[in-house]
Symmetry: C2
Subunit: 153 residues, 2 copies
Amino acid sequence: MKEPNEMPGHLARRFQQIAVAVFLAEVENAGFDLTPVQYAALATINTHPAIDQITLAGLIAYDRTTITGVIDRLVQKNLVVRETSSRDRRARELKMTDEGRRTLRKITPAVEAAQRIMLRGLTEKEAAELMRLLQKAIAAGNELSRAPQRDGG
Amino acid sequence: MKEPNEMPGHLARRFQQIAVAVFLAEVENAGFDLTPVQYAALATINTHPAIDQITLAGLIAYDRTTITGVIDRLVQKNLVVRETSSRDRRARELKMTDEGRRTLRKITPAVEAAQRIMLRGLTEKEAAELMRLLQKAIAAGNELSRAPQRDGG
DNA sequence: CGTTATTGATCAGCATACTGATCATCAGTA
DNA sequence: TACTGATGATCAGTATGCTGATCAATAACG
């Protein structure tokens, strides 16, 4: 077989593993307890008030069955509230709490630091090229996963 | 906040998500039931007969607590046997079964196809560049995760 | 030689991700 | 309006990954 390091699947897993570790370390260092997944959901609810769970899942490419637990934990941490929509009683409207907004604001520097750290082995130019190539590969494979990314509602 | 697609952490997660989905689809299509993680372990045991779990975990960058369950499942599928080492009774020596070798051989084309499919949006040159950049970023961040990659024992 | 530190493996517990099923609700149509 | 299909959410079950603890066995040291 090929070396693991020559297989894109292994590299994908490994890079993600490092990205998560760096994120958690930076966020904890800043005094918060939030996972990358929880952060993405929180940030997206902030820019899309009263979004429902399916639309949110589409924007950040989460499986619909995963989003339930993620929101459970954001609600438990008092960062988000989940209300039944009056227009469609199947849907849950997600809204920020004050503490959610405050947390998001305070945590942003740590999140940005994490993004830099996970690319620290690359030059600026290389980092930009890596992101471009990832975006391109992802766009081509978007529909291949159960939780593709979807633009607005 | 930035768009998710401009954050390397999100791209890492998304690319990994697609890589896993493609792998599972190709392998199932070939008539097998093996995860990317199980495949990497199986392939590495094949090239390192009688390897112990910690060394195996280092070679493929798995957490030591994760490897136990992965090997459990390979043993249950009759692809691997786990024997207590006679030289160090703490250690478990991992060895392929005939069925493990046969499975590995038969599954290889599907695994290779998966690696191509997950990069299908890129030209040959771009694919090579993406892998180079991932390798470089990973090398720089290797020690930041709990399960860094380690060369031979 | 005996005490201490380290190491290989496992376990309990938690958080993503997924498969597939179910339930309530809504939308479209006859 | 009654029926059918689609949709939002949740649940049970399985597989990574991690944190931190534990246990047995080995290594290292005085």
